[in-house]
Symmetry: C2
Subunit: 354 residues, 2 copies
DNA sequence: TTGTTATGCGCAATCGCTTGCGCACGTATT
DNA sequence: AATACGTGCGCAAGCGATTGCGCATAACAA
């Protein structure tokens, strides 16, 4: 690989001059002729700065690190991928550090590869784990961006943050059902997932609906154990619908659960969406291809990307604005599982049949 | 961060001595007492080598790079994640370079971050793109490992390779159906996906079965366009089953297609697996949670991981063995969609009903 | 003419680590 | 006693980039 020295020798100037010109340094005062020859020679020699030398001299790299904490679900992996792409769009090289928590010194690895800016993407982080990373990086003069943290907003971390408002996402789903005329809406959810219950209550309150049909899943089942969750969701769906035949709609906290619920709805001899409408959450890979395509809430990956690129760019330009907090909105994907079918008559027909 | 110098000053030896001891260099000839004091001091000072300085001195990094070529489907992303984990298991820091093809100088980024070893994972690579990367790295003395390349095996690249045999995967699926007594087996596939047709033919030939029921999907549909593929698969499934009522089993080239096919099977008034058994491919996120859980072929991620770790370790130990070519096998995940139900009687019952 | 400022560029130290070589000392060999 | 060798460690020259400072030359003002 060509070095600065090669260019300097070729052009007949000092290494320092080449460095300043190529970096667009403000105190690179050279004639236009020298400048052009330097740039042309760099191009011809296919010069690319040595990352190690530059990092050593600068005290840190000139790349952006994207870090995750633990192995992820496929949703968080998907999001992490979008964030990486967004970081790439700034033009900086991006390196990923997957699973900072692995080994005893993930953070030391990060520090010895000190980047120019660092993006911490959600997936298994706990606030107490994120804080030392952010503050350590901040002390070292590295800007952080935390994406989709469940970190409470009132807690002041020295970094920018972008998050999706989960309550808004859940509210969107329930609101959609209310708009379709539903008044008796069931919630099937792991209640420890933040926002689901809040969004459900919020919307029903706003519309003056007092009925609540909440089927909590066993909180001891870890959220990544789809098999157990599915089984639990099936049972809860059956119990809920059998005890409350007036229910005409279900909001499930994930598409996998919605799949299980839909299956049970059919086993009970009910039709979707005619007798029971269903909304999921996640817009999973399969949700558009089900026998009855599933209405669901999509993670706003495009918005995450856009905001990530924008905030990183801003930090790379002027270091010292105030910390920004951005919130992006989930989106509703409307499919057949909630298509309007004159809900109220059907449900009363069903009630009289009981 | 503590430096070698800090340790050297503290212990009262030279920097070079500390370096050699900490790196376990063979010509670090020191008394046990000095060695222990160096190690203890390094520990106490929480020493971690500066990656940039080390990289500069060594001419390359001491990490492993995992590179992908373009944005990926969720399957290849999943595989890439497993590979990253495997690389991590060697104990080396791992950095990911996603989308080497992006920008005009992805490879220059890789070269200026020159790693100790480099893993190229599949996903959009074309042979002519992979070759220059591998040979350039090889010239620079960096070992490469290519994982799951569709690169033909007879082409000699200066690197190790691990791949899954797609034909074997497809054969596994068809073999499973034959074992269950099926003789009239349909294939629903994008035929440009390598291995599917070959595996199908291979198994049927081996069992002396001459009947072929092949429903090719429109080759103009890009393989990531699930919506169009799904629609096409539905139509093909209907045509295939209506024209060939003797068919008792379907092998679909992906789980998404299998989902569409199963839906159509039911719309035709047939039961799964009683009338028609179905096998998919990919073991997608939803496949275990369908109304009828889907028998499918799973990507051998564990085997990929194991082989990746093993081959990387070998390279990090002794540089100069011959290039290794490993092949890992797909696995069958048996679920309800192919459960035995006295196939032949049922299918003849169905035939006589026509 | 002399002082001042702007322009154009080079010198050399520095970042933290690696590694070839050399020096001193002790022990074994001839 | 002289030579040889092994042991234990330090010296110092890199690796390739950045950057504060200094030195010319030219232009301009006093």
């Amino acid at each position: 690989m060509a070095t600065l020295r090669d260019i300097a020798d070729e052009v007949g100037v000092a290494v320092s001059t080449v460095s300043r010109v190529l970096n667009g340094s403000p105190d690179a005062r050279v004639t236009d002729e020298v400048r052009e020859r330097i740039i042309a020679t760099a191009e011809r020699l296919r010069y690319h700065p040595n990352h190690y030398a530059r990092g050593l001299a600068l005290g840190r790299g000139s790349h952006i690190s994207v870090c995750t904490w633990v192995a992820m679900t496929h949703h968080s992996a998907h999001r992490a991928r979008a964030i990486r792409q967004a970081a790439s769009d700034t033009g900086c090289p991006v390196v990923t550090l997957d699973g900072l928590s692995h080994g005893r010194d993930g953070i030391r690895v990060l520090l010895s590869h000190l980047p120019m800016a660092c993006v911490l993407v959600s997936g298994g982080w706990r606030p107490y784990q994120m804080e030392p990373v952010v503050t350590t990086l901040h002390e070292r003069g590295v800007h952080c961006l935390v994406v989709d943290s469940s970190w409470p907003l009132d807690r002041a971390l020295p970094c920018d943050t972008i998050r999706a408002d989960r309550t808004q996402g859940a509210a969107l789903a329930v609101e959609h059902l209310v708009e379709r005329g539903h008044r008796h809406i069931g919630l099937i959810s792991l209640l420890q997932i933040t926002g689901r219950l809040e969004g459900y209550e919020q919307v029903l309150d706003r519309h003056g609906i007092t009925e609540r049909y909440i089927a909590p899943l066993d909180p001891d089942i870890p959220y990544e154990n789809d098999v157990a969750l599915t089984e639990c969701a099936r049972e809860q769906t059956r119990d809920l619908l059998e005890e409350n035949p007036q229910i005409t709609a279900l909001f499930c906290s994930s598409d996998v659960l919605a799949l299980a619920a839909m299956e049970m709805v059919r086993e009970l001899g009910l039709r979707i969406p005619d007798d029971v409408a269903v909304v999921g959450f996640d817009n999973d890979t399969f949700s558009g291809f089900l026998p009855v395509p599933l209405t669901t809430i999509e993670h706003p990956l495009d918005e995450f990307r856009e905001a990530t690129t924008r905030l990183l760019r801003a930090r790379l330009d002027d270091d010292d604005g105030p910390w920004r907090r951005e919130i992006v909105d989930y989106r509703l994907i409307e499919r057949a599982s909630t298509a309007s079918v004159g809900k109220l008559e059907v449900s009363s027909a069903r009630l009289s049949a009981e």
